[in-house]
Symmetry: C2
Subunit: 313 residues, 2 copies
């Protein structure tokens, strides 16, 4: 598992600075709810008019340049601008896996990140496409997203043991996170077996996905033996991004959309939703599931559950 | 309250066809989970490999034209293409409240909706702006959204009684909905006092908001005495849209982002989050709240709660 043994670069250490338990040490990268840049304290009143103070997640603009070309301004919590920038370009097909990245420069004062590649990319064509689809409720560029979808062949040998799934959801739900600290944030986790490797959060689910994609490219993580966990719904876009990243298994505690299921079946993606406690539903690729967990029929104790809310994302 | 007594046009009747209780009759418009176009049955397996069948929400593309100009292709459940089209153009400032709409034509076979106005609009300039912001995780055009933000003056006289809030959340959570039927969907509700008027759902929260904006314009509903309820997070974008619509009070069962709070305070919007049972937090505009509900300190019985999940959107 050489691809998971990379030492996090300096910029990432803060993310893994507060490991208390052995299980937390399994995360190569996880949220740092103590990072003062990521949340702020805000004063308000409660349901009886009593003054209260609460933590809210910060969001700041980040303007992305590919070489000399301004591409987009994103709202992000701002913890990993380098991974976000590279992952965004990759998932939009504006960067090819074989593109040579000569550097990623982040200017914290200007909220600007610049990705420098050897060859100039065909951004102009991409920007044209954006015009036609930018109002899409999922907030990304559909024409681009679909571009590589049909070419991808997902690993047939990949497996998901139900015992892994239950261990993963417990570890993810109990790990310190901005969600537990302030709520109102999305989370995605790249996993291998029963080990959660990369836990990314952001105000937009897309950002969390892109940060993982950027990390995978820059650190050479291979997708074939990975499992992608998301807190959000299994929409068409989430399925397309997972397939594009080459990850054969997508898991969510939230629900499905019909088109997401159709696309997962087209691509042979294992699609698991409503994964809560020891329950889940698989609507595609069930042949990768190994039912090795001993089973009780009742729900797991709620201490591992999330706050009550909708299956949204 | 002349503005709430409009009889829903023929196309809306199905949405209010199955009223069982007096309270359900309060909805001018609410989801119709029985509409066969909105969900489909899908076969899969459960956590023990047993075959299961489940309902999932459908999403279909809808391409919007403003006069002869193709504007955008949206993914939507497709229940109210006319309201969605008009509301989208309005919330993107591509349509002005004083624009004369000569017609809205929907072609169900082509998945195309055309909004015809008397004067031609400055869409080209708008489309230019899109290029720079279309990657925004919130999936809309930021430059446009901010355009009218500072001009809006929200009603100072508007009030929110805590008794209304508790009645509204109970009515909304117990009304038949696609969420209760299939999950994985966003909901927004336009309310007046303790009456929920318009309950819209869609795969994208933006669509649900836009459908309400479109209905308000086409039926002449005024915003000053309204309350906007959303299942999603109180992000900057949600705050901007609510302010643009002129609605002085925004309520969510989900959480806050820091920029959302900043913008709400700038605009004098009453911003209430984490509204569950008889608890909530107000982080802006608390002066509009009237604390008239008798109070117990414990949470309300969970039967009115949502499924466990994240405060996402």
């Amino acid at each position: 598992m050489a691809d998971t043994s990379v030492a996090p670069p300096r910029s990432l250490r803060k993310g893994t600075a507060k490991l208390e338990a052995v299980e937390l040490a399994e995360f190569l990268l996880r949220p740092d709810p103590q990072d003062p840049r990521l949340t702020s304290r805000v004063e308000g009143v409660d349901e009886q008019g009593r003054p209260v103070e609460t933590a809210v997640v910060t969001e700041r603009p980040l303007t992305l340049y590919l070489n000399r070309q301004e591409i987009v301004t994103m709202m992000t919590i701002g913890d990993y601008p380098d991974y976000l920038a590279v992952g965004y370009l990759l998932n939009q097909n504006m960067l090819r896996p074989d593109d040579e990245i000569e550097g990623v420069d982040y200017d914290e004062e200007l909220d600007v990140v610049v990705v420098r590649t050897r060859r100039e990319t065909n951004y102009e064509e991409k920007l044209k496409k954006k015009i036609r689809t930018s109002g899409c409720a999922q907030g990304t560029v559909f024409g681009d997203l679909m571009e590589r979808f049909d070419e991808v062949a997902l690993s047939q040998g990949a497996r998901l043991h139900t015992s892994w799934l239950y261990a993963l959801t417990r570890k993810i739900n109990t790990a310190p996170s901005l969600y537990l600290e302030a709520g109102a944030i999305h989370g995605c986790v790249l996993c291998q077996g029963e080990r959660p490797l990369l836990y990314m959060e952001d105000v937009g689910r897309h950002n969390a996905v892109d940060k993982i994609a950027g990390y995978m490219l820059l650190h050479g993580l291979t997708p074939d033996d990975k499992i992608f966990y998301t807190t959000g719904r299994l929409t068409s876009e989430m399925v397309i991004k997972t397939v594009q990243m080459g990850i054969p298994i997508l898991v969510s505690r939230s629900g499905f959309t019909a088109w997401g299921v159709d696309l997962a079946r087209q691509a042979g993606l294992t699609l698991i939703g409503r994964a809560k406690g020891r329950r889940f539903i698989a609507l595609s690729g069930a042949e990768r599931i190994v039912y090795d967990a001993e089973h009780r029929d009742e729900e797991e104790a709620p201490r591992h559950g999330r706050k009550g809310a909708r299956d949204d994302a």
